[in-house]
Symmetry: C2
Amino acid sequence: MLQTNTNVSYQAPGHGGLCNVRDVLDRIGDRWSVLVIATLGDGPLRYSELRRRIGTVSQRMLTLTLRNLERDGLVRRTVTPETPPRVDYALTEVGSTLHERLAPLIEWAEENHPHIAASRERFDSALKRSS
Amino acid sequence: MLQTNTNVSYQAPGHGGLCNVRDVLDRIGDRWSVLVIATLGDGPLRYSELRRRIGTVSQRMLTLTLRNLERDGLVRRTVTPETPPRVDYALTEVGSTLHERLAPLIEWAEENHPHIAASRERFDSALKRSS
DNA sequence: CTGAATCCCACCCGATACTG
DNA sequence: CAGTATCGGGTGGGATTCAG
């Protein structure tokens, strides 16, 4: 087992590691944060372009997600006073380190999606037979 | 930029990569899946021990989370007919590859929690001043 | 010990309309 | 273009109860 020492602090009863992990995971565990960070991984983007790339996100949720990421110091918001207004978003240094950890996960998701879909089908049809 | 090629398929309009990524992230993006996978990373555990380690999870949610992970082929459920009954949970091979991608993320969460908490405080008190 | 079933509410998030 | 404000449905998930 290679991973034995990755989560030493989990057993700490009631305090420490696990709660903090939950704090952070709750933030990026919502519907859009991971996709925003992944999309900004290619470089800064303005609001409209970011929205276009993600495609299915609503105006409200994109704004909300960006605010929270900015609040946590993961994304930097830069306003350029023009008409029409221009706002660019970029990962901070800390945000970039998160993106580095996220990239393998996203890659994994793409690679293993077929396997997971197949497994779901097997499971569901096995359930059907036993009902 | 090192990560330029990690999300090549994102721009694919309406089909392909991004949707699949969302499929998978929706599964592990819930409140408990990541913590369950991380906890099982140390090795197989029976239901009660798993629950004790996570600590704050309700019976219902732990069972539900495990069912979904089993459905997706990430966790294997082994029943040993005894009295009282004994059920062990372990990562599958695929589940282990996910855990490998997850471990750096969790480590990141632990390391950066202080920074994030501080950033939140700064942001909130800056808001207060401007209100 | 492991788990299924039911109740129920907070909140997430989408749709829509309005503003500088 | 880049937001903010408001409303409302859907649902995630906790508490509780029952069962094998």
